[in-house]
Symmetry: none
Subunit: 208 residues, 4 copies
DNA sequence: CATGAATGAGAGTTCATTCAT
DNA sequence: GATGAATGAACTCTCATTCAT
């Protein structure tokens, strides 16, 4: 067998492998969105693929692991966009406005993923933040600290500001999905105005 | 056996009946806080009481139901306080500041319940909102609408404002629990300032 | 409900409980005998009872545990008989002869149990000694030591003598079951003669 | 590439083929010794080699088959030694003494194999005799019959004598491994004396 | 012939729920 | 109304085996 053939063989194998992994993640995304995290079983996920039950375990150890992979994948898809937006920002308004607009845009267009975080059959809203998601929060906090350091923003508590932005982002996104007539633009304008007006009024940090 | 004893016995029994229900709820609160909602089983809950497994079903139909009862109990404990605070408010500042202060105060002192929303064994943050909790959000929205109607507050979108308040409240509460040195007072001051400053800047509602 | 009724209720319950446990052990005995230890699954055992699958786990944690219970039950049934025989013995001949006869008798009449130790579908012989069985070996060793101490038997190594008796007992029993024409009496006579003749020739113990 | 290299490659390949089989058997021996027969899976065995899972099936059909191959290999290593010892024997004493000594010697020095028969995770002793091992027993029986035929030994039941010898051999070997201070020599002396003394006392065979 | 991912039967086990006591 | 064992559907996961590469 020539090197070429070998390479091709390897290529085919790894291709299948990657596509199977993706198939499982995609199925998981759909099923989580439909049933909610708690009610979903590993069986539900494989049933939603064309793979055999055992195959799931070649890729993930458990429901938790595939969920995490799913959240991480999502986070890794949004985070660069958000970062780019913040880096490009020339002032605080652009920083805030770009962030919210990008996030709401993503939520509107990647409905399924975000829905996972929201619904289950018992009508309870569930939100789970995986480490990768939390890392995205952290990135925001760091950028806020930089903005404070460079004088673009007043010296407020970056932790609490980050928390507030995240809280507003998720809750408003939720309402946007629930109320169809609310556009990305309106949602972003609302959240941006709240923070532009609010930040000026925030207490300056104690120096510890 | 005297009539007194009989009466006492009857009284005792009804007391037991009520206290069994409470015992289950209390056990559920502890177990949910320890294991997280998803990992908790009905068995775990009864094991944490002195009752037999069958007894559970004299009071609740399922894990979902007891969880709901638990959340409802909590919500019913906070909601009147929050309502009272808002009713007593003579202006928008008192409205906002009283709400946040009351909520953060509750979170700090009723740690366990709020923890349920945060912990699970995989270090992920989980938040579940039951209908009763959502009803509390609704109450806030209604009060916001009243405040807008009476001119105490500018005519902003009450849905989005409510969502923002809720988002900030939960996220900042989370940070308060994570960062021990952050006091209820500081947290409340931060959130209050954000909204006092922010609301003025919010876009006025379109008339539809 | 009167105390009587209470007692009766309790009685019925515990009766069922005990009989279920016994039903599982009996089924296990049959199934192990037929399939051998290795090939037997917990499911095979419950299928051989009229109980539901989950019920098994109210009584035993695993195949190992039920097997042990089974072996122990057996050992506890034979050991007293063997002990009685040895205690009744007025000399070494009666000691040995009574032991072998009792053991072979038991094997012949409790065919099923002993078979468990012998066959599995791959034609391999399997023997598993649980702690309770080993305890029976120990009892024999202690009785041998007593016999040596009282001068009834020469001062040979009781460990090795016990091991030899056990080895001969199991192997000869095996052959007795394989060869139908071999009677308990013949088997016992053979083994007894071997040890009566052999013990005299054994090396005396080194004094350490 | 020269003819030499080609030849070498071919030789290497066949060598590999043979050595793969041996590698599997060796791995099986180690794994069985560690986990016991029942708990060992084919996966455990291949994991203990450097081969891929599919490769296993080029050499063996199942766990049973590799176990059998392993036992056979072992039996084939001991049986010729035992046979040689018995053939060389000039009288009954040498016959018996040589057999036990050889067996105990083997057990002491090939610890691992014998351990398979003894250990399992639950502290129970397990003994499994494969057909090849049983064939070794048979060889002994045939040699006993020859010895009887040639008048070297009294006319006792060769089946039962063989069974007794095997029983004593395995049990005493077990004790030898458990009690470190017991030497091969002492064990062999004990077993030999038992049978030398015992055989004289054994009942003569009925003529059927 | 080696590889190692896919397969899917089936083992072990859990658990909400029922129901005789 | 309390009890707790029985139930059995359904889940998680393993593993021998196959087969495309």
């Amino acid at each position: 067998m020539s090197v070429d053939a070998d390479t091709k063989a390897r290529g085919k194998r790894e291709e299948t492998k990657a596509s199977n992994r993706q198939a499982i993640i995609d199925a998981a995304r759909r099923v989580f969105a439909e049933l909610g995290y708690g009610a979903t079983t590993v069986r539900d996920i494989i049933r939603a693929t064309e793979l055999a039950s055992g195959t799931f375990y070649n890729y993930f150890k458990s429901k938790e692991e595939v969920f995490q992979a799913l959240q991480d994948e999502t986070a890794l898809r949004v985070r660069p966009r958000l970062r780019a937006e913040r880096v490009r920002a020339k002032n605080f308004e652009e920083f805030i406005s770009g962030s919210f607009r990008t996030f709401f845009d993503f939520v509107k267009n990647d409905h399924t993923t975000f829905a996972t975080m929201r619904r289950n059959p018992e009508m309870q809203r569930v939100r789970i933040d995986t480490p990768e998601v939390v890392a995205g929060f952290d990135e925001l906090r760091v950028d806020l600290e930089i903005a404070i350091g460079s004088g673009v923003m007043p010296d407020v508590d970056p932790d609490l500001l980050m928390a507030s932005i995240v809280g507003v982002a998720f809750e408003v996104a939720n309402h946007m999905l629930a109320r169809d007539e609310l556009s990305v633009d309106e949602a972003a304008k609302f959240a941006t105005a709240l923070f532009l007006g609010g930040v000026r009024a925030l207490p300056k940090r104690r120096r510890g």
